[in-house]
Symmetry: C2
Subunit: 191 residues, 2 copies
């Protein structure tokens, strides 16, 4: 009898990237997860008939939700997307999986802390809201949500480009490998 | 014997606003929640000694998490903050509470759909990622996360200002009242 590998949901803004970039990132991640004894599943594993759907957005949500519910853990690409924080859908999935008590890790290629991404020279943003100078990778709910659930937020070596990262930049192999190894360990401890 | 009112966690970026604005918004929301038979609790109800804390960010996370775990439901201000999507911490809390199967509603004062906030004239953003033209209030995981959990995303009347909303604009009474009434009904059905 063969036991199935622990299944890990690959969350991230890659779903919005041009197909060639997305497919190659998915493949590299799944290979690395395989190397540490995990099976990666991605939203694109679902071949959804969006053109024929009456509510395509609901179809996508339901499919992602089912993938998450069938997964044993989560690895979330929290690299900043369309602003100083991670992709909104990915953050939702991070909160959801932690709410479900499933082992979870996050990573970002970005070396610049959140508060410096919002403003390098002030503790108040352009609209007058406080920027908490904690030097964390993102909003503290993400950083400590991960830590307090036994997970970890792995960060990379790239400085934040003022206009945001281009799609090809959303992957750094050493960061992903470290996150994958950590998650594999978590899943061994909490099978 | 008096039964306690259902307790609702008030999530939103208001925690970063100047104290005078924040306190007044908290008070108005708690009054409206009281009118529909709910008790509002806000992160600022915790008087935390941040100055004396070794890890102030963790202290804030733990206090918010405890408030969420003691709450019966969530009302999340998902008005765009520091970019085209809602505040990262608020999205995390939304996902977490839905992950915990707790009744949840969201609201935003913004009338402009997410895809138009990212770009009015294109289906691809400046960095080359797709902008799904669903006309939803935010990333579909938030909109349908709410809907599929039995909740709802209430939106307001204000067009998205290119530089984002100022703190005083994060509240529209009719939108909050509608969200509060809907949540009160949900909590009666799922006590």
């Amino acid at each position: 009898m063969t036991k199935r590998l622990p299944r890990v949901y690959l969350a991230g803004p890659e779903v919005f990237f041009p197909e060639s970039v997305r497919a190659s990132l998915d493949e590299r991640k799944k290979r690395i997860l395989g190397d540490v004894g995990l099976e990666g599943v991605s939203p694109f594993d679902n071949a959804l008939d969006l053109a024929g759907a009456r509510e395509p957005a609901q179809l996508i949500y339901d499919a992602n939700r089912e993938l998450m519910d069938k997964a044993d853990g989560l690895i979330a690409n929290l690299t900043p997307f369309r602003g100083p924080s991670a992709d909104a859908g990915t953050i939702y999935e991070l909160g959801y999986m932690i709410g479900r008590d499933k082992p979870t890790v996050g990573f970002s290629v970005c070396a610049t802390p959140y508060n410096e991404r919002v403003s390098r020279h002030s503790t108040v943003c352009a609209n007058g809201a406080d920027i908490e100078a904690f030097g964390l990778a993102d909003n503290l709910m993400l950083d400590y949500g991960l830590v307090r659930a036994g997970g970890k937020f792995f960060t990379g070596a790239t400085a934040y480009p003022p206009g945001g990262f281009p799609p090809e930049a959303y992957f750094e192999e050493p960061v992903f490998v470290a996150a994958a190894r950590y998650l594999a360990q978590l899943l061994r401890e909490h099978p």
